[in-house]
């Protein structure tokens, strides 16, 4: 089922409505250990739907803004990173960086501690209570929070992540650019049947154990399919596709590309974190008007 359910709009309106009932109530505490001459780091606590208290890292460059921003939406792993592993720390001198732990990830794991694998199918047989309904709300709340920062240049805000980056940009304003690497919510049920690799294997495990719930799982996943969100994505988008010929390669993602109305670039993986990573860094820098990219690249990526 790759068409949006009839109640797709209502489902997400209700989710965002619930979120709106809870003010974020952010608390910022400096983290001197991770602060440098070029950036100050804060630990941020804020409330999402539930209510549930989340945690994120906010890094603000030294100097007078406004600055472009990168928002790292919640990842599919237990660990929350300040910046992604392998990213030059100096990136924090040019961008405001905000990374958020969704409910269940480390630092946001009380009262709910997510398991990996396990999170993807937590409550998946009921769209109303599926765990990702809350995590999507968390991700939206993160972007809302970032948008309130006075140091921010609202014309240069990139949301970077997996499927959640695209979903977040579709559900709320504030993202001018998106870098998304689909992994969880593109034709999930169909693609899971074609792989034995996690995280999609979680769906196979679940359906093998609970075959009678297959239709309910498909119904839930339909509310999360990127194809359903695509028409709402207005931000300029870089889609990080898998390698050619793979489950999430450029050809496989073509229906998604065609469905997104905003300006779109597709990069197919070259099986190299260097080449793929450099492409993404260059793209973000170009979009955000960063002129001297070399100085904020990892040492081994510089010319």
């Amino acid at each position: 089922m790759n068409q949006a359910p009839q109640t797709f709009r209502e489902y997400w309106q209700e989710t965002l409505g619930r979120l709106a009932r809870y003010p974020a109530c952010p608390e910022l505490d400096p983290v001197p250990l991770r602060s440098t001459a070029f950036a100050t780091l804060y630990g941020v606590r804020l409330t999402s739907v539930g209510p549930y208290r989340l945690f994120g890292y906010l890094s603000i460059p030294t100097g007078t803004g406004p600055f472009p921003a990168i928002y790292y939406s919640p990842k599919y792993q237990s660990v929350l990173e300040i910046i992604p592993q392998g990213t030059a720390n100096l990136i924090r001198s040019r961008y405001i960086v905000f990374s958020l732990a969704g409910r269940g990830q480390r630092n946001a794991d009380t009262p709910y501690a997510a398991m990996f694998p396990g999170l993807l199918t937590e409550g998946i047989d009921d769209a109303a209570t599926y765990v990702f309904r809350g995590i999507v709300a968390d991700s939206v709340r993160g972007l809302e929070f970032l948008s309130t920062r006075r140091e921010l240049d609202p014309k240069r805000v990139a949301v970077v992540g997996n499927d959640l980056a695209l979903i977040t940009a579709a559900l709320t304003s504030g993202a001018t650019h998106v870098v998304a690497a689909p992994a969880l919510f593109y034709k999930t049920a169909d693609l899971a049947a074609k792989t034995q690799t996690y995280p999609l294997e979680e769906v196979n495990d679940y359906l093998r154990t609970f075959p009678a719930r297959a239709e309910a799982v498909r119904r839930t996943l339909a509310y999360y399919d990127l194809l359903a969100f695509a028409p709402r994505v207005a931000a300029e988008t870089l889609l990080m596709a898998g390698a050619p010929g793979t489950l999430l390669g450029g050809q496989a993602l073509k229906p998604l590309v065609d469905a997104i109305p905003g300006r779109m670039t597709v990069h197919e993986s070259e099986h190299s974190t260097y080449r793929d990573g450099l492409y993404a860094e260059q793209w973000i820098a170009a979009q955000c008007g960063i002129g001297d990219l070399q100085s904020i690249l990892p040492e081994h990526w510089r010319d």
């Binding site: 001197p32 300040i82 392998g86 034995q196 974190t273 260097y274 990892p298 010319d303």
Partner: protein, 313 residues
């Protein structure tokens, strides 16, 4: 194009005079009952692979979790692979290794998800937890947890204890080095883009996390640099490398932005095994050429663990 990397790079780390005595004492302290608990996981079990959670006791009586997979159709005693995780990785269920015919153990050393009830310094933080004291530094127990994984495999009746391999990348690659060095039962090892090697060089060669945790610490405590370097010398994979005698393959990415390739070269040059092979991948970062290298690792383990003719050690 990114800069070239000297293949004869020398890391500055020196082996402490009491290095062997230190680890001998730690191993002695860890000589406690394993208390293995095996719990079937029907949710993750499929027609071709049986999945279990295993729990065991390690140094300081910390309980360690791991995933354990075995092919449904297997010989009475099968070769085994121990998979060791990356720094931020949640230890995966190693079904793919089981599908290749191995009993597969995927260890979650202390602090990882499912092994963090008694010890949980967090991420970032693990790398610098008690970094001025080798007797309580985070990796003291962390290393032992992986070595004890070999004991778990040896305790299983379906494992052929003469055909055990270890594999991992990044932190997993570093742990492969220390495990192969300390456990003579390891008959073949594949270390990818090894982390935990040449620490004090790495923090100058790159400024990315996780190594950047040490730079953060030293910026805050510059007076502790000597103590930090002294501690890390006991945990540096380069100082374990000369003890490795089993066949080993190492792959590195020449544009690795996480584990500098210079440290990979320095490590490889210090490995004691006669049967060793380095695969440097130009145009690759922390993936270490995984897409091409995976088949090489498969052939390597098939040759050393599945032929029935194991190497003499």
């Amino acid at each position: 194009m990114a800069k070239t990397v000297p293949a004869d790079y020398q890391c500055r780390v020196r082996k402490p005079d009491d290095f062997d005595a230190f680890w001998q004492d730690v191993v002695r302290q860890a000589a406690i009952p394993l208390d293995v608990e095996v719990v079937p996981d029907p949710l993750r079990t499929s027609d071709d692979v049986e999945v279990f959670e295993i729990f065991y006791t390690s140094l300081d009586h910390v309980r360690i979790a791991c995933w354990y997979c075995r092919p449904t159709r297997r010989a009475e005693r099968s070769p085994a692979i121990m998979f060791l995780p990356g720094y931020q990785m949640d230890p995966p269920i190693p079904k793919e290794w089981a599908r290749k015919g191995y009993i597969a153990l995927s260890v979650a050393p202390r602090g990882k998800l499912r092994s963090n009830r008694q010890f949980n310094p967090g991420y970032p933080n693990l790398l610098t937890h008690n970094i001025v004291d080798r007797h309580t530094y985070a990796y003291r127990g962390f290393y032992v947890d992986t070595w004890r994984g070999i004991d778990v495999l040896l305790s299983r009746p379906e494992v052929d204890g003469t055909r055990i391999g270890v594999v991992g990348s990044s932190q997993g690659g570093g742990l492969v080095i220390t495990t192969a060095a300390m456990r003579p039962e390891v008959r073949a090892a594949a270390a990818g883009v090894p982390y935990l090697c040449g620490f004090m060089d790495a923090i100058e060669l790159t400024h990315t996390y996780p190594y950047e945790e040490i730079n953060d610490y030293l910026r805050r405590h510059p007076d502790r640099r000597t103590e930090v370097a002294d501690t890390l010398a006991y945990f540096d994979g380069i100082n374990f490398a000369d003890r490795i005698t089993c066949p080993i393959v190492v792959n590195i990415g020449l544009q690795d932005n996480v584990c500098p390739p210079e440290t990979g070269y320095a490590l490889f040059n210090r490995i004691g095994a006669g049967d060793k092979q380095l695969y440097p991948y130009d145009g690759h970062g922390h993936d270490g050429g995984r897409a091409r290298h995976g088949a090489i690792v498969d052939r390597f383990f098939a040759q050393h663990l599945q032929s029935g003719q194991v190497s003499n050690r």
